[in-house]
């Protein structure tokens, strides 16, 4: 039983890490707390639902589709909403952006209720069956989704290490002035960073849609967990992020089994307060103080 809970938590944790990775890309690159992360998770779920229902039952295409749409959507949101706030500048930018993004999530949630209704929509699982390894039952759908999540995290890692754009984004995150001097234009990079961050949230929503139902408010807690995972882990270490994600996944699966899922969130938020108070740069943070 203990092993079963640990494995469940580990798999859930990988999704937290995927969500958190998107959150931290935006936080690191743009100095912005993306409080609409959960809303983008929900958007990813609905796009998957629409594609599988109306276009093709192929899950890979549905996931790709939701990632691409979310990227474009994030790009446009940055151009229309975040850029004007950024232009006005000042140190209040992060706070104004935060309020703007929270309002955006209100708009998206209620649009979803208007368009799809408040009821839950089911996405059929595309892999059925279980595997039993050493007494631990693993749902294959869950395992496949987790595998794709790990692949996405690896892809992002390679993107940041190897490609021109990835390196430009890292340069921008480390030192804006120096990056600008070396020819990295923030005006071009910021919308891309935001798009990249939110498309990971949408990917998580898309991957989890066959496991949980899709509903307008489904993103609220995954979004908060992304924020908590990033706060606790700190910036600059993908490994730390995955570890923290898994830690919270395991905490959640154990507390949900022995008490209730609310206890899991309560513990997670309390840990976050402790970490912000005593170690603001996070457990694994390498930059910032």
């Amino acid at each position: 039983m203990i092993m079963q809970l640990a494995v469940n938590g580990l798999i859930d944790g990988l999704f937290f890490a995927l969500m958190g990775l998107g959150f931290s890309i935006i936080l690191e690159g743009m100095d912005l707390f993306n409080f609409a992360h959960g809303a983008f998770y929900m958007v990813g779920g609905y796009i998957t639902y629409l594609v599988i229902k109306n276009v093709t039952p192929n899950p890979i295409i549905a996931i790709m589709f939701s990632i691409i749409i979310a990227f474009i959507f994030g790009y446009v949101v940055d151009l229309l909403m975040l850029r004007p706030i950024r232009r006005r500048g000042g140190e209040g930018w992060a706070l104004a952006g935060l309020i703007g993004l929270l309002s955006l999530s209100v708009v998206l949630e209620n649009l979803a209720i208007l368009v799809f209704g408040a009821e839950y929509k089911g996405v059929p699982p595309y892999v059925r069956g279980n595997v039993v390894i050493g007494g631990v039952i693993i749902d294959l759908q869950r395992a496949v989704s987790a595998l794709i999540a790990v692949m996405l995290i690896l892809l992002i890692y390679l993107f940041f290490k190897k490609t021109k754009y990835g390196r430009a984004m890292r340069a921008l995150a480390q030192n804006k002035e120096l990056a600008e001097m070396s020819g990295v234009s923030p005006g071009i990079m910021y919308p891309m960073i935001f798009g990249l961050g939110v498309c990971l949230a949408a990917a998580a929503g898309s991957l989890l849609s066959p496991l949980y139902y899709v509903s307008p408010t489904i993103g609220a807690f995954p979004g908060l967990m992304a924020f908590i995972v990033v706060i606790v882990s700190g910036l600059g270490s993908i490994g730390g992020l995955i570890l923290t994600g898994i830690l919270f996944g395991i905490i959640n699966s154990f507390t949900a089994f022995f008490y209730s899922s609310e206890w899991g969130y309560l513990i997670a938020f309390t840990i976050a307060i402790m970490v912000i108070t005593f170690r603001p740069k996070g457990l694994f943070g390498v930059r910032r103080e």
Binding site: L95, L98, V107, L224, Y265, L266, I276, T277
Partner: protein
């Protein structure tokens, strides 16, 4: 022409009193309980907004957890009044004090952190409170809500007896209005005082404040405590007015209302939240007919405000109207 100008001068100089008077007259003009109800809710929001404006606008401590103080005040007062039969009038004080105690706990990180980290830690705090309300259902009623909160006991003044009933909300109206006006005046005096001035120095630069010999921790702590006390008091009033509490009061949407009201009315004005909350409360109520679209429009308005005029839409409009005379003067010079 002359008399017209002096009338305007009179209005400009004494606009606070004129607005206070107008507010006092409203229950005499209308006995529509629905309008009174919306006004009471808007007064509650305005009090919260003003206390948030003091802490965030003047103190520079960006709280994103005022809904927690509000909920703590409401729940503490309600639970104590239900279980121990204490008068709800005392409950108001209990609500304020319990929020103050809670703010003492959270002030430890808040006073040491800066900028967005304060927003994060207060947000996490409010989420802890939200989850705690959901978990301890024996005490709080959990997600299904806390029912049967007693309302205010009648006051016997000898000549007249003031009763608090749902069928006639006039007395609730005056109570909410009194709370609002007292808090607005108190907060305005506070931010204009030496204390408020020092708080603004700290907001501009903590280093400068420290070289001037200002005890930054002390001044920030006082601001946090006052703001939390007022929020808790307001929460207690809300609990005894509505007589039903659900965990949603501690949810982020309450904070969004506070931010929207303050931003709409004018940041760093104290009074701004009053104007903003009036607009919002009526918009929210009259948009009910269009159902879910209401919240979509609500969010879009907030986004537009953030993009266009972060210092406050109504404030800029009023300043433009009132500064007409000043502009003429400038031309003469």
């Amino acid at each position: 022409m002359r008399s017209f100008l002096s009338l305007r001068d009179l209005v400009i100089k004494n606009w606070i009193f004129i607005i206070i008077l107008l507010g006092l007259l409203i229950p005499l003009i209308t006995s529509d309980q629905y309008i009174l109800h919306i006004l009471i809710l808007s007064f509650i929001l305005a009090t919260l907004g003003a206390s948030w404006d003091m802490l965030t606008g003047y103190g520079g401590l960006f709280s994103f957890g005022h809904q927690a103080f509000y909920a703590i005040g409401g729940y503490a007062s309600a639970i104590i009044c239900i279980n121990y039969g204490i008068s709800p009038w005392l409950g108001l004080l209990i609500g304020g004090l319990s929020a103050l105690l809670a703010s003492l706990v959270i002030s430890y990180p808040v006073l040491r952190l800066r900028g967005p980290y304060i927003a994060l830690v207060t947000l996490a705090f409010s989420l802890v409170i939200y989850e705690a309300i959901t978990i301890f259902r024996d005490l709080t009623g959990g997600p299904s809500g806390l029912w049967g909160i007693p309302t205010f006991t009648p006051i016997d003044l000898g000549i007249i007896k003031i009763t608090f009933e749902y069928t006639n909300r006039t007395s609730y109206y005056y109570l909410a209005y009194a709370l609002l006006i007292i808090n607005l005046i108190f907060l305005k005096i506070f931010v204009e005082s030496k204390y408020g001035l020092r708080l603004r120095v700290i907001k501009e630069s903590e280093e400068v404040a420290e070289t001037l010999g200002i005890d930054t921790i002390k001044y920030k702590l006082v601001a946090v405590l006052i703001s939390a006390f007022i929020s808790g008091l307001t929460g207690a009033f809300y609990a005894h007015y509505i007589q039903l509490l659900s965990p949603e009061v501690a949810w982020v949407s309450t904070m969004l209302d506070i931010v929207l009201a303050t931003m709409l009315g004018g940041f760093m004005t104290i009074y701004g939240a009053f104007a903003g909350s009036l607009v919002i409360s009526f918009l929210k109520e009259y948009f009910r007919v269009i159902g879910q679209l209401r919240l979509v429009i609500y969010g879009l308005i907030l986004i537009l405000i953030i993009i266009a005029t972060p210092s406050g839409l109504l404030k800029e409009m009023i300043v433009k109207i009132l500064s007409f005379k000043k502009k003429v003067k400038v031309k003469n010079v």
